[in-house]
């Protein structure tokens, strides 16, 4: 019987600097291949033995066949270590964990509105590129993405050179404060979403800091969106990622196993403890 807590060894083959505190790590197995298959929104446990293990959402799309990528913000013990390492470093990896987004069921045929703030783009990146790869299965794609400054936009190059240039995809970028080399929108994400006044038939996929989620959700409600049509992905402290160690529950749901993707009508049924 395979023990789910025992990880496999992976190799970090490439490290891309995205922002002053976000790097994207490309991981393959010791055989040089993608460690495992996943669906958009699922997560994996990465660790450096001696430092610790932590859960990260998989940033790359399942349609990327050669590797897994993780966009990771420096904010704690494990992430500081990851940020300090060099390509060729081995790590341990286990997964995939969680339910992922319903890309082949609820999202199929729908117009999609992605709303992200800061590092919140990381889990949505996987979904967006999956939808781009299966373009015929989805309607229009709108992406509203905001960060503190231009330098804090994660994976700005791909957004600008790939997403912005594709038919049927509208990218709306915003930064918190005006700066000289920025001629785009300035302001917070929740207000920008209201200004854009999106069609309420769109299916919304949202991820970002709690304060952004709170106000954006309120704005979407004002616009007449239905909570059964708004998805988000949650993050709580985890150790096992198998629904057994007992710490990532919100009421009777474990974020690692029953989530991390929830609709807001599902979250409404759970206690307000996240």
């Amino acid at each position: 019987m395979r023990e789910p807590l025992i990880p496999m060894i992976g190799v970090v083959t490439n490290i891309r600097v995205d922002t002053p505190d976000v790097k994207t790590f490309r991981v393959v197995g010791l055989d040089g291949k993608k460690p495992f298959l996943h669906i958009p929104g699922q997560c994996a446990m990465l660790s450096i033995p001696g430092v610790g293990e932590a859960l990260f959402s998989i940033t790359s799309s399942p349609t990327e066949e050669a590797f897994l990528e993780f966009s990771i913000k420096k904010c704690g013990c494990v992430t500081e270590w990851l940020h300090a390492m060099e390509p060729g470093q081995q790590v341990t990896i286990r997964g995939p964990y969680g339910n992922g987004f319903p890309v082949n069921t609820d999202f199929a045929g729908k117009d999609l509105l992605f709303i992200a703030g800061g590092i919140g783009l990381a889990p949505l990146h996987s979904v967006i590129n999956y939808c781009r790869a299966h373009r015929a299965n989805y309607g229009n794609i709108d992406i509203v993405y905001g960060s503190r400054s231009k330098a804090d936009l994660v994976d700005f190059e791909e957004i600008l050179n790939v997403w912005c240039k594709e038919d049927g995809i509208n990218v709306h970028l915003t930064i918190d404060n005006a700066q000289p080399d920025w001629d785009g929108h300035v302001g917070f994400v929740p207000n920008y979403v209201k200004e854009l006044n999106p069609d309420t038939k769109k299916t919304v996929v949202m991820c970002g800091p709690p304060i952004m989620i709170k106000f954006t959700l309120a704005g979407l409600m004002d616009l007449g969106f239905d909570r059964t049509n708004i998805y988000t992905t949650m993050e709580l402290k985890m150790k096992c990622a198998l629904g057994k160690c007992g710490r990532c529950n919100i009421g009777n749901k474990y974020v690692c196993k029953d989530g991390p993707v929830f609709r807001f009508d599902q979250l409404d049924e759970l206690p307000d403890e996240y």
Partner: protein
Amino acid sequence: MKKIAISELNSLFAAIAADRKLYIPTDDSTGQSQFTIWEEGSILSRNVNTVRSAKDSFFPQVENLMGFKVTGKQIELIETRDPAESFAVFGVRACDVRSFDILDRVFLTEPVDTYYAQRRENVCIISLACGKPSETCFCTAFGIDPAEPKGDVTCWMTGEALYWQPNTEKGEALTAQLSVLVDADVADIEQEKAAIRATAEKLPFGKLDLSAFGQGKTKELFNRPEWKALSQSCLGCGTCTFICPTCQCYDIQEFNNGKTVKRFRCWDSCMYSDFTKMSAGQPRPTQTERFRQRFMHKLVYYPDNNEGIFACVGCGRCLRKCPIHMNIVKVIKTMGEGTK
């Protein structure tokens, strides 16, 4: 049904221990009992229950999961799993036996925890009916019969003899090895069972009203004001979680000795602030939220996910050991009163 004279107990234990480790409850110097490995001279405790539950047998407080050797940028995985060995635990009370079912539903559901599963497969549980349930016992509130514990073997102790009834294949196999046992009549223990049930009937908390709890009660209970007062004196020491037979939360930590890194798991407690604290925030910032989590988990969330089964077996350990005399009975009574 088999039996052996109480004066011959030592030969029974020796026979069981002939080809496996045997754990029995023994008293320490302070008169409190713990499950310890039987050896010649061990004396069976007569206490109703051990300080710590029998869950230690398959879910030890600390357990090595794996090791790593880190050389430069290379990582080598080292398997450190203990070899499988058969063992038996004698003297498990009805409450602890039920707790194994509660833990099994966590560890043995997919993906199966193989460390736990390995020990669980290799154990023979020899349960023992409670001669005299204690005032802190309330297993009957959860439908547990202290006169009929369900192990691989069920034992009853009267003044003169230990009666032995195998219930499972494992129990039958063990029984076949024990020539020290002699045939007995099932009728011999009816009086003992009746006496135990008569005592249980009079337990002060035996008829605890659980109707306020169970599946689907989150909305009614989560924001109740009583949580604040109930949790006010809680020290967050975690004693209740460590002695609880159904508490299963664990942490994964590492020990780096400079040559290899050992990754081990150890019991953790939802009563500790570190339990949910992460760099991105703390969803349970005060002891009130942590206290509420513990009881909501046992009385609502677990039943929600397990066909209404409560994750409490009424063993009463938390009633005896909490330094501020807070316990699940007070929670059940207080919250139950509030819903009437």
